[in-house]
Symmetry: C2
Subunit: 126 residues, 2 copies
């Protein structure tokens, strides 16, 4: 059995200044930037986590601006296979995560466990 | 003073069959469809709420598929004015909500309070 759940909301920004984009979203959503988070590095800025809530990360990207979801799991190959059976397709396999596309057209990523509370909150898949 | 916070993640689907799209996302995210939720009607399908977590709604749309965020507030005009000061622009004012666009290019909506826990969890803006 493996497990998975929503990890977070990723705000992909096609901008030159990722800090300015992160400041906007931090103020808009009322979640300050967390400079100490391991997810804050280079083109990535994490907003502060709220207990029990999904994470929010601002990312500088080259493609058009959009919002995407990440699914976190303790077994990436098993989760990708489960999602393929549901009709999703693999767009790109990277070293540490897999980019997939839903039958309804949205890209999302399958990532390793990142957010607190996974053990008690994730869904189990036989 | 008015208040606001993230309400939820909206999965906009340019599809003919919103039920099939909702079934995919329900299985993918491990959150069953909630047919009894007032947000499930016509082109909208709500997934089951998790305590303290943002809501997830699947929407049938005519524009390209994407994911967007909603911000909920007890004062829509005040919240729109706050977000405009941060650099967001109004895209469209509808009867019950306002569609805005972030400086980083993503559309999002400002809606009235919809999710449990607003009183204890929302941010206050002077």
């Amino acid at each position: 059995m493996h497990r998975s759940r929503i990890n977070g909301v990723l705000i992909d920004c096609k901008v030159d200044d990722i800090e300015a984009a992160a400041r906007f979203w931090a103020e808009a959503l009322g979640r300050p930037i967390n400079p100490a988070h391991p997810g804050t590095r280079g083109n990535y800025v994490m907003l502060e986590d709220r207990p029990g809530e999904v994470s929010v990360q601002i990312q500088r990207v080259e493609h058009e601006s959009r919002v995407h979801l990440d699914i976190e799991t303790d077994d990436i190959p098993a989760e990708v296979a489960r999602l393929e059976k549901l009709g999703a397709k693999v767009h790109e396999r990277l070293e540490r995560w897999v980019v997939m596309e839903a039958p309804s057209g949205q890209r999302f990523c399958v990532v390793r466990v990142q957010r607190a509370g996974f053990d008690t909150d994730a869904n189990g898949w036989a």
